[in-house]
Symmetry: C2
Subunit: 152 residues, 2 copies
Protein backbone atom coordinates (compact mmCIF):
# COMPACT_ATOMS: atom_id res chain seq x y z
CA UNK A 1 0.00 0.00 0.00
CA UNK A 2 1.40 3.42 -0.89
CA UNK A 3 1.57 6.40 1.41
CA UNK A 4 -1.76 7.85 0.27
CA UNK A 5 -3.60 4.66 1.13
CA UNK A 6 -1.74 4.36 4.41
CA UNK A 7 -2.68 7.93 5.22
CA UNK A 8 -6.34 7.30 4.48
CA UNK A 9 -6.30 4.08 6.47
CA UNK A 10 -4.56 5.56 9.49
CA UNK A 11 -5.95 9.05 9.64
CA UNK A 12 -2.49 10.57 9.53
CA UNK A 13 -1.63 12.74 6.54
CA UNK A 14 1.00 11.58 4.09
CA UNK A 15 2.96 14.65 5.02
CA UNK A 16 3.04 13.73 8.67
CA UNK A 17 3.88 10.11 7.92
CA UNK A 18 6.98 11.27 6.07
CA UNK A 19 7.76 13.64 8.91
CA UNK A 20 7.44 10.91 11.55
CA UNK A 21 9.76 8.78 9.47
CA UNK A 22 12.27 11.59 9.10
CA UNK A 23 12.52 12.16 12.84
CA UNK A 24 12.71 8.45 13.56
CA UNK A 25 9.35 7.99 15.26
CA UNK A 26 8.58 5.27 12.77
CA UNK A 27 11.06 3.13 10.85
CA UNK A 28 11.81 3.63 7.19
CA UNK A 29 9.63 1.40 5.08
CA UNK A 30 10.58 -0.44 1.93
CA UNK A 31 10.34 1.26 -1.43
CA UNK A 32 9.16 0.20 -4.85
CA UNK A 33 11.56 0.33 -7.78
CA UNK A 34 10.25 3.83 -8.44
CA UNK A 35 11.00 4.95 -4.89
CA UNK A 36 7.43 4.86 -3.59
CA UNK A 37 7.10 3.97 0.07
CA UNK A 38 5.24 0.70 0.70
CA UNK A 39 3.20 0.17 3.85
CA UNK A 40 2.06 -3.10 5.32
CA UNK A 41 -0.98 -3.59 7.54
CA UNK A 42 1.41 -3.72 10.43
CA UNK A 43 2.76 -0.30 9.51
CA UNK A 44 -0.75 1.06 9.30
CA UNK A 45 -1.55 -0.43 12.67
CA UNK A 46 1.39 1.45 14.14
CA UNK A 47 0.18 4.62 12.47
CA UNK A 48 -3.22 4.18 14.02
CA UNK A 49 -1.56 3.76 17.38
CA UNK A 50 0.17 7.08 16.78
CA UNK A 51 -3.07 8.61 15.61
CA UNK A 52 -4.79 7.68 18.84
CA UNK A 53 -1.90 8.80 21.00
CA UNK A 54 -1.79 12.10 19.17
CA UNK A 55 -5.49 12.48 19.71
CA UNK A 56 -4.81 12.21 23.44
CA UNK A 57 -2.31 15.03 23.11
CA UNK A 58 0.87 13.01 23.53
CA UNK A 59 4.03 14.61 22.19
CA UNK A 60 6.22 12.89 19.66
CA UNK A 61 8.70 11.99 22.40
CA UNK A 62 6.00 10.46 24.53
CA UNK A 63 4.61 8.57 21.56
CA UNK A 64 8.07 7.24 20.94
CA UNK A 65 8.17 5.86 24.48
CA UNK A 66 4.70 4.43 24.16
CA UNK A 67 5.55 2.74 20.89
CA UNK A 68 8.61 1.19 22.48
CA UNK A 69 6.53 -0.10 25.37
CA UNK A 70 3.94 -1.42 22.97
CA UNK A 71 6.61 -3.45 21.23
CA UNK A 72 8.07 -4.63 24.51
CA UNK A 73 6.53 -7.93 25.58
CA UNK A 74 8.23 -7.60 28.92
CA UNK A 75 6.98 -4.11 29.67
CA UNK A 76 5.69 -3.14 33.07
CA UNK A 77 2.27 -1.54 32.90
CA UNK A 78 3.61 0.79 35.61
CA UNK A 79 5.82 2.42 32.98
CA UNK A 80 2.88 3.06 30.72
CA UNK A 81 0.82 4.34 33.61
CA UNK A 82 3.59 6.69 34.72
CA UNK A 83 3.77 8.28 31.27
CA UNK A 84 0.02 8.54 31.10
CA UNK A 85 -0.38 10.12 34.52
CA UNK A 86 2.42 12.58 33.90
CA UNK A 87 0.60 13.59 30.75
CA UNK A 88 -2.69 13.85 32.58
CA UNK A 89 -1.06 16.20 35.08
CA UNK A 90 0.29 18.34 32.30
CA UNK A 91 -3.04 18.42 30.49
CA UNK A 92 -4.78 19.44 33.67
CA UNK A 93 -2.22 22.12 34.36
CA UNK A 94 -2.68 23.61 30.91
CA UNK A 95 -6.44 23.36 31.11
CA UNK A 96 -6.45 25.12 34.48
CA UNK A 97 -4.20 27.81 33.08
CA UNK A 98 -6.61 28.42 30.22
CA UNK A 99 -9.60 28.37 32.51
CA UNK A 100 -7.99 30.92 34.80
CA UNK A 101 -7.44 33.25 31.89
CA UNK A 102 -10.95 32.62 30.70
CA UNK A 103 -12.48 33.30 34.08
CA UNK A 104 -10.51 36.45 34.67
CA UNK A 105 -11.44 37.81 31.29
CA UNK A 106 -14.99 36.66 31.53
CA UNK A 107 -15.36 38.44 34.83
CA UNK A 108 -13.98 41.64 33.39
CA UNK A 109 -16.24 41.36 30.37
CA UNK A 110 -19.28 40.84 32.52
CA UNK A 111 -18.64 44.25 34.02
CA UNK A 112 -18.29 45.86 30.64
CA UNK A 113 -21.32 47.69 29.30
CA UNK A 114 -20.49 46.73 25.75
CA UNK A 115 -21.99 49.91 24.40
CA UNK A 116 -20.75 52.82 22.31
CA UNK A 117 -18.99 54.55 25.19
CA UNK A 118 -15.27 54.18 25.75
CA UNK A 119 -15.20 53.27 29.43
CA UNK A 120 -14.36 49.61 29.79
CA UNK A 121 -13.12 47.56 32.72
CA UNK A 122 -11.17 45.29 30.39
CA UNK A 123 -9.11 48.14 29.02
CA UNK A 124 -8.86 49.63 32.50
CA UNK A 125 -7.43 46.43 33.85
CA UNK A 126 -4.92 46.04 31.05
CA UNK A 127 -3.73 49.60 31.42
CA UNK A 128 -3.14 49.46 35.15
CA UNK A 129 0.29 50.93 35.81
CA UNK A 130 1.81 48.27 38.02
CA UNK A 131 1.50 44.62 38.88
CA UNK A 132 -0.07 45.41 42.22
CA UNK A 133 -1.91 42.79 44.22
CA UNK A 134 -5.25 44.37 43.62
CA UNK A 135 -5.06 42.95 40.16
CA UNK A 136 -7.57 40.33 39.25
CA UNK A 137 -6.93 37.47 41.60
CA UNK A 138 -6.38 34.28 39.71
CA UNK A 139 -4.78 32.11 42.34
CA UNK A 140 -6.60 33.09 45.49
CA UNK A 141 -9.96 32.93 43.81
CA UNK A 142 -11.78 34.59 46.61
CA UNK A 143 -15.41 34.16 45.86
CA UNK A 144 -16.20 37.27 47.80
CA UNK A 145 -17.47 39.87 45.45
CA UNK A 146 -15.48 42.94 44.63
CA UNK A 147 -18.04 43.11 41.91
CA UNK A 148 -17.59 46.74 41.07
CA UNK A 149 -13.92 46.22 40.62
CA UNK A 150 -13.00 49.84 41.06
CA UNK A 151 -13.21 50.81 37.47
CA UNK A 152 -12.43 54.43 38.24
Amino acid sequence: MNIGKAAAASGISAKMIRYYESIGLIPEVSRTAAGYREYTDKDVHRLRFIWRARDLGFSVDQMSELLALWQDRGRASADVKRIALAHVAELERKARELMEMSETLSHLASNCQGDSRPDCPIINQLSKPCGCEEAVQSEGDKADSNQADRQE
Copy 2:
Protein backbone atom coordinates in the same frame (compact mmCIF):
# COMPACT_ATOMS: atom_id res chain seq x y z
CA MET B 1 15.72 54.26 29.94
CA ASN B 2 17.42 51.57 27.89
CA ILE B 3 15.86 48.31 26.79
CA GLY B 4 17.16 46.36 29.76
CA LYS B 5 15.52 48.71 32.22
CA ALA B 6 12.35 48.79 30.18
CA ALA B 7 12.33 45.01 30.16
CA ALA B 8 12.75 44.85 33.93
CA ALA B 9 10.07 47.47 34.44
CA SER B 10 7.55 45.90 32.12
CA GLY B 11 8.12 42.21 32.64
CA ILE B 12 8.72 41.65 28.95
CA SER B 13 12.16 40.44 27.88
CA ALA B 14 14.40 42.73 25.86
CA LYS B 15 14.32 40.10 23.17
CA MET B 16 10.56 40.25 22.93
CA ILE B 17 10.48 44.03 23.03
CA ARG B 18 12.69 44.10 19.96
CA TYR B 19 10.50 41.46 18.37
CA TYR B 20 7.30 43.39 19.05
CA GLU B 21 8.92 46.42 17.52
CA SER B 22 10.03 44.48 14.46
CA ILE B 23 6.53 43.21 13.73
CA GLY B 24 4.99 46.61 14.34
CA LEU B 25 3.09 45.84 17.53
CA ILE B 26 4.86 48.75 19.15
CA PRO B 27 6.34 51.81 17.44
CA GLU B 28 10.06 52.30 16.97
CA VAL B 29 11.51 54.30 19.81
CA SER B 30 14.23 56.93 19.63
CA ARG B 31 17.88 55.96 19.82
CA THR B 32 20.93 57.36 21.56
CA ALA B 33 23.93 58.41 19.50
CA ALA B 34 25.29 54.92 19.98
CA GLY B 35 22.11 53.35 18.64
CA TYR B 36 20.67 52.25 21.97
CA ARG B 37 16.87 52.26 22.19
CA GLU B 38 15.41 54.77 24.64
CA TYR B 39 12.14 54.09 26.43
CA THR B 40 9.89 56.60 28.13
CA ASP B 41 7.48 55.84 30.94
CA LYS B 42 4.74 55.92 28.38
CA ASP B 43 6.50 53.24 26.38
CA VAL B 44 6.86 51.13 29.49
CA HIS B 45 3.20 51.63 30.27
CA ARG B 46 2.35 50.28 26.85
CA LEU B 47 4.64 47.33 27.44
CA ARG B 48 2.89 46.58 30.70
CA PHE B 49 -0.41 46.68 28.85
CA ILE B 50 1.01 44.10 26.48
CA TRP B 51 2.36 42.07 29.36
CA ARG B 52 -1.08 41.89 30.93
CA ALA B 53 -2.80 41.09 27.67
CA ARG B 54 -0.27 38.38 26.97
CA ASP B 55 -0.88 36.99 30.42
CA LEU B 56 -4.52 36.63 29.48
CA GLY B 57 -3.49 34.64 26.44
CA PHE B 58 -4.21 37.22 23.78
CA SER B 59 -2.41 36.77 20.47
CA VAL B 60 -0.24 39.47 18.98
CA ASP B 61 -3.00 40.35 16.54
CA GLN B 62 -5.53 40.69 19.31
CA MET B 63 -3.13 42.76 21.37
CA SER B 64 -2.68 44.99 18.37
CA GLU B 65 -6.42 45.57 18.24
CA LEU B 66 -6.59 46.15 21.98
CA LEU B 67 -3.74 48.64 21.86
CA ALA B 68 -5.48 50.53 19.10
CA LEU B 69 -8.69 50.63 21.12
CA TRP B 70 -6.78 51.72 24.20
CA GLN B 71 -5.39 54.66 22.29
CA ASP B 72 -8.75 55.45 20.78
CA ARG B 73 -10.56 57.98 22.89
CA GLY B 74 -13.68 57.42 20.85
CA ARG B 75 -13.71 53.65 21.17
CA ALA B 76 -16.88 51.73 21.85
CA SER B 77 -16.52 49.38 24.81
CA ALA B 78 -18.57 46.97 22.73
CA ASP B 79 -15.56 46.49 20.48
CA VAL B 80 -13.34 45.63 23.40
CA LYS B 81 -15.96 43.31 24.82
CA ARG B 82 -16.40 41.53 21.52
CA ILE B 83 -12.67 40.78 21.30
CA ALA B 84 -12.60 39.67 24.91
CA LEU B 85 -15.59 37.37 24.60
CA ALA B 86 -14.33 35.83 21.40
CA HIS B 87 -11.11 35.08 23.22
CA VAL B 88 -12.98 33.67 26.20
CA ALA B 89 -14.81 31.31 23.87
CA GLU B 90 -11.55 30.16 22.34
CA LEU B 91 -9.92 29.68 25.74
CA GLU B 92 -12.87 27.65 26.91
CA ARG B 93 -12.81 25.55 23.78
CA LYS B 94 -9.14 24.75 24.24
CA ALA B 95 -9.57 24.07 27.93
CA ARG B 96 -12.42 21.69 27.22
CA GLU B 97 -10.35 19.93 24.62
CA LEU B 98 -7.53 19.40 27.10
CA MET B 99 -9.92 18.27 29.80
CA GLU B 100 -11.46 15.73 27.47
CA MET B 101 -8.07 14.26 26.74
CA SER B 102 -7.23 14.32 30.39
CA GLU B 103 -10.41 12.59 31.41
CA THR B 104 -10.14 9.90 28.78
CA LEU B 105 -6.59 9.15 29.73
CA SER B 106 -7.23 9.41 33.41
CA HIS B 107 -10.01 6.88 33.11
CA LEU B 108 -7.79 4.48 31.21
CA ALA B 109 -5.03 4.90 33.76
CA SER B 110 -7.38 4.23 36.63
CA ASN B 111 -8.01 0.81 35.14
CA CYS B 112 -4.32 0.11 34.78
CA GLN B 113 -2.73 -2.01 37.48
CA GLY B 114 0.51 -0.13 37.19
CA ASP B 115 2.54 -3.16 38.14
CA SER B 116 5.32 -5.16 36.56
CA ARG B 117 3.04 -7.06 34.23
CA PRO B 118 2.57 -6.01 30.61
CA ASP B 119 -1.21 -5.95 30.38
CA CYS B 120 -2.40 -2.39 30.27
CA PRO B 121 -5.70 -0.81 29.21
CA ILE B 122 -3.90 2.29 28.00
CA ILE B 123 -1.77 0.37 25.53
CA ASN B 124 -4.78 -1.76 24.66
CA GLN B 125 -6.81 1.29 23.79
CA LEU B 126 -4.07 2.85 21.70
CA SER B 127 -3.53 -0.35 19.77
CA LYS B 128 -7.13 -0.92 18.86
CA PRO B 129 -7.26 -1.65 15.16
CA CYS B 130 -10.03 0.66 14.06
CA GLY B 131 -11.71 3.86 15.06
CA CYS B 132 -14.63 1.99 16.53
CA GLU B 133 -16.80 3.74 19.03
CA GLU B 134 -16.76 1.20 21.84
CA ALA B 135 -14.87 3.60 24.05
CA VAL B 136 -13.28 2.54 27.25
CA GLN B 137 -15.05 -0.03 29.30
CA SER B 138 -16.06 1.29 32.66
CA GLU B 139 -15.30 0.31 36.22
CA GLY B 140 -16.54 -3.22 35.74
CA ASP B 141 -13.82 -3.67 33.25
CA LYS B 142 -12.77 -7.17 32.74
CA ALA B 143 -9.10 -7.26 33.49
CA ASP B 144 -8.95 -10.14 31.11
CA SER B 145 -9.48 -7.77 28.23
CA ASN B 146 -7.70 -8.20 25.00
CA GLN B 147 -4.01 -8.20 25.28
CA ALA B 148 -2.69 -5.49 23.06
CA ASP B 149 -1.72 -7.11 19.88
CA ARG B 150 1.87 -6.20 19.48
CA GLN B 151 3.61 -5.93 16.25
CA GLU B 152 6.60 -8.02 15.60
